[in-house]
């Protein structure tokens, strides 16, 4: 199993009446709710928490990309990942990911990911999302019906830019470059492992299966509602005659809160979970899905209604509802272990993206929950898929010897060493 401690980086100061007074947490969120001076501490605390998780035995720490979004103040995950690369060692950096259809030219992503792979010593897991409609279409103006074609071309260009040793010309429909020859090149050859976050598009399933990329479903609705979608993926894996059904072909994001007991979990975390599900997920319906963004084939598979949020929204869901509905996995270590095992086996996922800082959770609670999960839950879940223990195709291959920040000699020794 691979456990990634993931931070969405929610803005923790949305007002109590956010739902009533504001139409959306995303795209046209009121900029006056952002306080740059407060964000200074928020960003640094969030990065500290990621680094903390990296020291506790998580396999990876993870970041992602959202734009104009109150629950994800991370339009550039690469900036955060660069900071993390400097102050961590051994732990993988999952950047899930860069929405490659948005960058012009897309070789920018090939370059920045190569930089991250070099700075981190081969610890990058590279994510290539098509991007949500809110980010890709409404914030970044991509034409919905052409987004997938542009994404595909960007992917092909990035992969070739990583793999092709000699300069080449790229005459694409969306990008034309006479001299593609990126510097630097990634440490991991021929390229870092690739994870593709998806939301149920059949095309994305096939794309992952055909390229040996890991498919990950990043939802906030939890494992019970995620079942239909992941089953759709595994059915597709079988239908396309993939050579194996390695659980590492799949990943899933899950909100997790651990305390000493079930009742302590409710007492400590329910307020923050409620903040996330009620305020952070308050997205105006008109921004959910630009017409043309999903293909007809995907709409026709009919799975859509099963994983769209309930029509009445999340606001009526109590702590009990959220637990019984599987939106969150929370409780004492044994409760969490049982549910995690149920989730991992039920969805057949080797990669779990653990959403452990939830909503406006203060750092002490995030640390407490993270620590309990790392010490009392992860060790018991490690070997759920022993047959695939050696499947390294979907994970990074760090350099044996890594340096990190602070490798300079002492200042008072510099002159002597320079002259030596």
């Amino acid at each position: 199993m691979k456990f990634t401690w993931f931070n969405l980086m929610p803005w923790p100061y949305l007002p109590d009446d956010f739902r009533e007074k504001h139409r959306s947490v995303w795209v046209d969120i009121d900029s006056r709710l952002f306080d740059a001076e407060k964000s200074h501490e928020v960003y640094n605390t969030y990065m500290d928490l990621l680094e903390y998780a990296g020291e506790l035995g998580f396999d990876a720490i993870g970041v992602n990309e959202h734009h104009q979004n109150g629950y994800g103040i991370m339009p550039s995950p690469n900036i955060i990942a660069a900071g993390l690369a400097r102050r961590t060692k051994d732990v993988a950096l999952v950047v899930l990911g860069n929405s490659i259809a948005l960058y012009n030219p897309p070789v920018r992503v090939a370059e920045e990911f190569a930089m991250l792979d070099c700075i981190s010593g081969g610890r990058l897991v590279a994510g290539f999302p098509v991007g949500t409609s809110m980010d890709t279409n409404y914030c970044y103006g991509q034409i919905p019906a052409l987004t997938r074609e542009k994404y595909q071309e960007a992917h092909d260009l990035i992969i070739k830019a990583w793999r092709e040793p000699d300069p080449f010309a790229w005459n694409g429909r969306y990008t034309k470059l006479r001299h593609v020859n990126i510097w630097p090149r990634p440490v991991q050859k021929p390229n870092p492992p690739i994870h593709i976050p998806g939301g149920g598009s059949v095309e994305t399933y096939d794309f992952c299966i055909d390229n040996t990329y890991s498919y990950s479903y990043l939802s906030f609705s939890g494992y019970i509602r995620g079942k239909a979608l992941m089953q759709g993926y595994w059915d597709r894996v079988a239908a396309r005659n993939a050579p194996d059904t390695s659980p590492y072909r799949a990943g899933f994001a899950q909100t997790i809160c651990v305390a000493d007991t079930d009742s302590e979990a409710e007492r400590l975390y329910s307020e923050h979970v409620s903040y996330f599900y009620n305020r952070c997920l308050h997205v105006y319906g008109g921004f959910a899905d630009a017409p043309g963004y999903r293909t007809i084939k995907t709409i026709q598979t009919g799975a859509l209604s099963q994983y769209t949020p309930p029509l009445e929204g999340f606001s009526n869901l109590t702590w009990k509802d959220l637990i019984e509905g599987g939106h969150i996995i929370a409780g004492g270590p044994e409760t969490v272990r049982q549910r995690m095992e149920h989730m991992i086996k039920g969805l057949r996922v080797g990669n779990v993206f653990c959403l452990m800082h939830v909503g406006n959770m203060p750092k002490e609670k995030a640390m407490y929950s993270t620590q309990l999960f790392a010490e009392k839950v992860i060790p018991k879940l490690r070997n759920i898929f022993p047959d695939y223990a050696d499947d390294g195709r979907f994970w990074c291959k760090p350099m044996k010897t890594q340096v990190k920040a602070g490798s300079l000699p002492r200042a008072e020794d510099a002159a002597r060493l320079a002259r030596a």
Partner: protein, 258 residues
């Protein structure tokens, strides 16, 4: 009106044909042609009407190779040619007006009469156009109609978006039509037409609903200003969907094109 098919070199195209008189090509807007639309029937009482559906509209086949403004413009010229029409009256509503204006600008010797009805294609910073692609169905009528109550009936009659089966049909329909429209209109409905309007030689009639809230009449003024000799006619008690709200006045207005 009869629904027929004509083959172009790219794709089979569905089109309505009916009536007799001077040939008139009508290009529909982003919403396509609704079953409740009586405008074509009324038009057919005076003209020989040809109303092609863009690929992806109604029951017509999609065409992935249509991506940008030039593709759609050339495609529609292909349709006119396939129909063997010489200098028909060219009329377009909203997105259809945008395509008609492009055709009249690019092949400016081929079209001598042009009607732009609440046409898309320009952008005025002082009048930002509402984002139809981020508008929920129930929010549409106040934007599209002068008479909101009647407009709501026209758009929602018999529909329920909470019925999963209908929702699926609706999503497919919407993805096909608005997905196609997005290629010309998303995220900002401007593909540079303002820089080409000077080429239009056709006698041009710009027709606008006086209470159009999608493209307010200032857009009509901008078309009039950009096209040499163009005439602007405002139709009272009409919003953006003039074709549905005031079809008789619209047909009457077109008569001045000759």
């Amino acid at each position: 009106m009869e629904l027929k098919t004509i083959q172009t070199s790219r794709v089979p195209v569905r089109y309505f044909e009916g009536g007799s008189g001077k040939p008139l090509v009508f290009l529909h807007g982003a919403g396509g042609i609704l079953p409740s639309d009586k405008f074509l029937d009324k038009l057919a009482q005076k003209y020989h009407v040809y109303a092609p559906l863009l690929p992806g509209y109604g029951d017509s086949q999609e065409c992935a190779s249509l991506r940008d403004m030039l593709d759609f413009t050339l495609h529609t010229m292909d349709v006119v040619e396939a129909l063997k029409l010489k200098d028909p009256i060219l009329a377009g509503h909203s997105m259809g007006g945008m395509i008609a204006a492009e055709m009249a600008a690019i092949t400016h010797n081929d079209f001598s009469r042009l009607a732009l009805i609440a046409s898309a294609g320009l952008w005025l910073d002082e009048h930002p156009v509402p984002d139809l692609f981020a508008t929920l169905p129930f929010e549409l009528p106040p934007i599209l109609f002068h008479d909101v109550e009647m407009g709501t009936k026209l758009l929602t009659a018999g529909l329920s978006l909470s019925d999963p089966d209908f929702l699926k049909v609706f999503l497919v329909f919407n993805a096909r039509q608005m997905g196609t429209a997005g290629k010309l209109l998303f995220p900002v409905p401007d593909r540079g037409l303002s820089e080409r309007l000077y080429r239009i030689k056709a006698k041009t009639l710009v027709i606008w609903g006086a209470s159009d809230k999608l493209f307010p009449p200032a857009y009509g003024e901008a078309f009039k200003k950009g096209i040499r000799g163009a005439e602007l006619m405002l139709i009272p008690k009409a919003g953006h969907m003039i074709t549905l709200e005031q079809p008789d006045e619209l047909v009457t207005a077109l008569a001045s094109l000759g």
